[in-house]
Symmetry: C2
Subunit: 369 residues, 2 copies
Amino acid sequence: MEVGEATAVANGFCMNEGDREISYANNSMIQKTVILKTRRILVDTIKDLFCNVLPTCIKVADLGCSSGPNTFLTISEVIGSVQEICQQAQLKSPEFQMFLNDLPGNDFNAIFRSVPAFLEKLKREKGDLIGHCSISGVPGSFYGRLFPSRSLHLIHSSYSVHWLSKVPDGVENNKWNVYMAKSSPPNVFKAYAKQFQDDFSSFLSMRSEEIKPRGRMILTFIGRSNPDPSTEFYGWELLAKTLCDLVAEGLVKEADLDSFNIPLYTPYKEEVSEIVQDEGSFEVDRLQVFEVDWDAGEDVNSNGLVLNKYERGQKIANYVRAISEQLLAGHFGDAIIDRLFTRLAIHEAEHLASNRGKVVTIVVSMTKK
Amino acid sequence: MEVGEATAVANGFCMNEGDREISYANNSMIQKTVILKTRRILVDTIKDLFCNVLPTCIKVADLGCSSGPNTFLTISEVIGSVQEICQQAQLKSPEFQMFLNDLPGNDFNAIFRSVPAFLEKLKREKGDLIGHCSISGVPGSFYGRLFPSRSLHLIHSSYSVHWLSKVPDGVENNKWNVYMAKSSPPNVFKAYAKQFQDDFSSFLSMRSEEIKPRGRMILTFIGRSNPDPSTEFYGWELLAKTLCDLVAEGLVKEADLDSFNIPLYTPYKEEVSEIVQDEGSFEVDRLQVFEVDWDAGEDVNSNGLVLNKYERGQKIANYVRAISEQLLAGHFGDAIIDRLFTRLAIHEAEHLASNRGKVVTIVVSMTKK
């Protein structure tokens, strides 16, 4: 990846904005499912964190918050859990200071325009039982410092930390692929693993400065089920296959495909715990692996009819488009995008016929030493 | 003002976004001049505030930050002043947590996209001499709570607090005017003064909860030079005159003009100090009144040629448009806007021929008791 592209990942890369059919807001059901599936860990962590001492103001950061219907889910969950603690112990509610972080290109305007409605709903539902809740947006890469030292009680991040700070160096020979794939040369697996190791270590080190002593961090990200990265099917193969189709048709230059790779890593659970241990700032409390369907809970349409494989393929292609369109358009240009995702939908449908379309997800909960 | 309109002021009203000829970013020279003119008070206040005790993290809020070239001016000034204190006392720089507030409709995306460049410039200029600077956006009306209790060292606001939370009640008889004017009935002056008293008192009361004990607040806003509000020329008369022209031409309904008033108040200096004293949370350290030209420092064009009165009139009309277009379009519809401001430019030019076009500005610096 060239310097310009690395900067693009850091400053410009983001989910599809707006409220269109292919926007992130309308294609983040899997992310919602994941947040709901990890709810228990968040609630338990909050109870554990605040059962003995309740600060006057609880400070929480959600990293990689994106925009859309999921953005306020974590905040709501935190406030609800704290309210339960207060009611049980007959304590006055603390105040809340919630920081929503994402890259500067994220659609913060969309989030901010829904803040008044969110706060009104909170007031309507909880009344005076809840202390004042201040919501801030913090633009910046979580591979750099974002918050003052020792300022946060809890850091949360869902489906973000798998994004790398850049495409790994030395993957130029990953021809006809856009990610680790069974046909990738061995150095590609090493380069991806090394980039994740570097990125995740710096992430931990930045956060360890920003979190209060004994503060908690809960991270959820895509992982893989096999220890050996060369034996896994990652799903991006279908995007590579589609791009190869477009090369064959002369719509994409072969050199452009050769130089494109997705800046994302799906670690095996042991890689995660090893990096946490080696970095040394946090101790792992819980690490769980679970699977979610790519079309999580959406295999029926709005009329309750079961979708056929082509409709499901289209949905999955929309999910992929919502998170990767900007990267792809930045590299290949806008002109091919519609055709690329129409074609991807077909490959996804054909793949669904013989595969379940599961996403391995890792959730790790840790405490600052 | 109807409930819908009050909500529009609180949630939707904002300066013209983007980078067009009539955007706020390109028409905020007067606001810049004001910030530069009050620089000395900001610097003195910071030196006074931090000369004895330097916290590990300095927390500052800028209320009504808008977007455009002025947004980072105050932050830069605060950091520069703290750096001077540290250099003189040979102390390590503290960290900074800067909160930029405006209504949820403000273009925070534009601000956030310039944060990386601002932080890089800061690093380039100050190097490791400056502690980490965290920049957050906080959407919401400053007539409600925005920040946790006792969390801020310094609150700053320039050219924002003159905006009221709504058009005063009981000004329905302010026919053919859009603001206080010499021809306004006496109840209109009372209603405007009462609304400012209520709004400014609640502003002080909200901020007194958010600021640390002995914390400082510096507010700059448009004021007036006469104690008697019925004797002043406010400038909005020219907008009223223009709207009357459009009524005469049948482009604006008379009833629409009758029901439109600008939700802004320009207090006399003694009103300000009285409200601060009555509210009771702050003591006034300094209160100064000064004048700035409406076309502050911009009476020459980019080629260095002195502008004629029509060119200056156009510039002033653009300034007025940048801050009031959204209010006007919300009430009268988009269709009349271009014609309205073309006509206003002519009235401004004619007015300039016999008047200086000065804006009375009040700056007040206070300490939380």
